[in-house]
């Protein structure tokens, strides 16, 4: 198609900043979400660098203990609510309409709002570092009574969480409406791509559990300022009740972070194995089972609060059950690769890395489920290692793989494969050097969330810090690669990958073809 641009006048469209401010296009909003997420990833990463610098050697070198606690707290909040969740909402915005043959999200304006709540929320959260008393310092779990003690930074944090929660709810309602209502003709639910399935279930988890978070932090706020005693034992309240409510939200939240990554991996592995996904139906049911189980395991985060024996046994058994649907997924991925015709482009490397590293996190999760042993692991670096294997090894590697996988579709250019491979290997090495030694630290008795430690933990902490610096630095490669791809590069074909299947690659949905005399070939 040759361009015959006749006249330049009458541009009705906002340009510059207003274009991004008022956009209702799912691709624009997806792009905004992804850049927002990456920015938060860098900010949260810098906080992790501060944490690891302080822990490089015993003794206090750089920060005071209170600021250290603010760093661990805000790092977690920024990474979970700022980086990980928006990354997948961004992917959902870009991909779900393309994958189900919809022109846009069902509610484009709601989509705009749900994104634009995030930057103010993030600003509030980070601004809390600069108010008197500093940012929330009671851990991302904001357990009272400690979080009642904090300064106004805690209120900033609560407000930020509220805004992010509203954003998530609007985003999930939009995703549910889109998937249910805007599928191309013939795309029944059991033909949905796995990424769309996992997001449908994730969105359901979000709408079910975000009100619980909203209620919990509201009670915290009224306890802090309006004289209620929900969590104050001296006023007849119960601090453990907060933990129950928080983890009732918190455990589904963990799966909100991981399920879309499962979806991404279920798209990538078949593509580069040149073979259909093994056990699609069991994948769908495994995902749904994981989602259901996530609502009945919450107290495994609090085995040491002194529950009755029957409670501990119930939550131990229900938690162990999660291993079954999760292992079904892993076996299915391995079987998808089995007797395939495999190539190892960067997205595939990320997918394999994700399966491998997430499984390490899954196994340590199973160990943590064993209550008698959990009494030793609980609140140690073993737990820190566990959830970083799950969230970094699972969620973040999944998101990075997804970006490499779909970037050619988004920009029309191939990314640089060499840089991609460097990024992968440095990230994976950095991640393992950072987090694997933390298993040993935890087993040997190092509690989490401490700014300084006894001498027997010095060696592995130093290794861990070195790994963290490598991990942080290697993300620069990612930024360079993405920017280069946006600016130019080898032209990507419609299919992009040899083994690609699905509407987003062959884009035309089936309906309109026959209504036209000429085939719609536009290159």
């Amino acid at each position: 198609m040759t361009a015959t641009t006749a006249d330049q006048h009458h541009d009705h469209h906002p340009t510059g900043i207003t274009r991004w401010l008022f956009t209702t296009n799912h691709k624009d909003i997806g792009t905004l979400y992804l850049w927002f997420s990456f920015t938060m990833f860098i900010i949260g990463g810098l906080m992790a660098m501060i944490i690891r610098s302080e822990l490089f050697e015993p003794g206090l070198q750089f920060v005071d203990p209170l600021f250290f606690n603010q760093m661990t707290t805000v790092h977690a909040l920024v990474m979970i609510f700022g980086a990980a969740m928006p990354a997948f909402v961004g992917l959902a915005n870009w991909q779900i309409p393309l994958m189900i043959g919809a022109p846009d999200m069902a509610l484009p304006r709601l989509n705009n709002w749900s994104f634009w709540l995030l930057p103010p929320a993030a600003t509030l959260l980070i601004a809390s570092l600069f108010v008197p008393g500093g940012a929330p310092a009671g851990g991302w779990t904001i357990y009272p009574p400690l979080s009642i003690q904090g300064g106004m930074g805690v209120d900033f944090g609560i407000l930020a969480l509220h805004m992010m929660g509203i954003s998530s709810i609007m985003g999930s309602i939009n995703i549910i409406a889109t998937i249910m209502n805007m599928r191309a003709p013939g795309m029944i639910l059991m033909k949905l791509p796995m990424f769309v399935w996992t997001w449908l279930i994730t969105a359901f988890l979000l709408v079910t559990c975000i009100p619980v978070l909203a209620g919990a932090i509201t009670m915290l706020l009224t306890d802090r300022h309006f004289g209620t005693h929900f969590f104050d034992s001296s006023g007849g309240g119960d601090p453990v009740m907060f933990q129950h409510i928080f983890w009732f939200f918190g455990h589904p939240e963990v799966y909100i972070l991981i399920l879309p990554a499962f979806g991404v991996v279920s798209q990538i592995i078949p593509t580069f194995s040149r073979k259909p996904l093994f056990g699609y139906t069991s994948m769908v049911f495994a995902t749904a089972t994981i989602a259901f189980l996530s609502f009945i395991v919450w107290a495994h985060h609090m085995f040491t609060v002194g529950m009755p024996l029957t409670g501990e046994l119930f939550f131990m058994y229900s938690t162990m059950l999660i291993a079954i649907p999760t292992s079904v997924k892993i076996f299915n991925w391995v079987s998808t690769m089995w007797r395939g015709s495999l190539t190892f482009e960067t997205p595939m490397l990320y997918a394999i890395g994700m399966v491998f590293l997430f499984t390490i996190g899954g196994f340590s999760g199973l160990m943590l489920a064993i209550v008698p042993a959990d009494f030793q692991y609980h609140d140690t670096y073993f737990v820190v290692a566990h959830f970083h294997y799950v969230i970094f090894g699972g969620t973040i590697l999944g998101a990075l793989g997804a970006v490499y996988f779909w970037l050619p579709k988004w920009t029309g250019h191939m990314y640089n494969e060499t840089l991609g491979k460097w990024h992968f290997w440095l990230t994976v090495i950095g991640m393992n050097v950072t987090f694997f030694p933390q298993h040993f630290l935890g087993l040997a008795g190092m509690p989490r969330r401490i700014p300084d430690y006894a001498l027997q933990f010095a060696e592995f902490n130093m290794v861990s810090s070195l790994g963290a610096f490598l991990l942080g630095l290697s993300q620069i490669i990612f930024l360079i690669n993405v920017l280069k791809t946006i600016k130019g590069g080898e032209k990507a074909s419609d299919r992009v990958w040899e083994g690609s299947t699905g509407l987003e690659w062959t884009v035309p949905s089936p309906a309109p073809y026959h209504t036209f005399a000429t085939p719609p070939v536009v290159k």
């Binding site: 015959t4 009458h10 919809a102 022109p103 846009d104 191309a184 250019h413």
Partner: protein, 164 residues
Amino acid sequence: MTIAAASHTPPTRYLITPNRSMSRRGSAYLVVGIAACALLVAGSMTILYGAWPILPFAGLEIVLLVFAVRHVQNSCDNREVIDVGERHVDVTRRHGDNLDSFRFVRAWTRIALRQTRLGNLPDRLEIGSHGKLIEIGSFLTDDERYSLANELAMQLGRKISHRN
């Protein structure tokens, strides 16, 4: 999405309707199902732990959900009709409650694809003349929009202009 062309010699009518994969009944089930889950959770938290402040948030969420699903259902009736006649091109759009009609002189009517976002594919199709361009096919996917653009360009005997 349906784009139906009645014939390929003038006058030709294109009817563009959005694709909706859920019936009104299905929407009702969806809302009731999600509302039941949210209320079940909020209710059990209230009964188990006395955490009643969860209930209003669950309620607000259900209100938003009902509003959203109704809005989506109402947009099922959106229509765009493009009549390519011997001398004029008539475009009638019904988006929600707004009904707009436009008439362009066929000889001056242009088709433009506009790139409004990052990436390689133009995503906005416009028709019009004399500098007055209106958007059509906003509820089509990219490829359907291309097909429509091609088809209209062929009908009008013009090339598609690409704009940024």
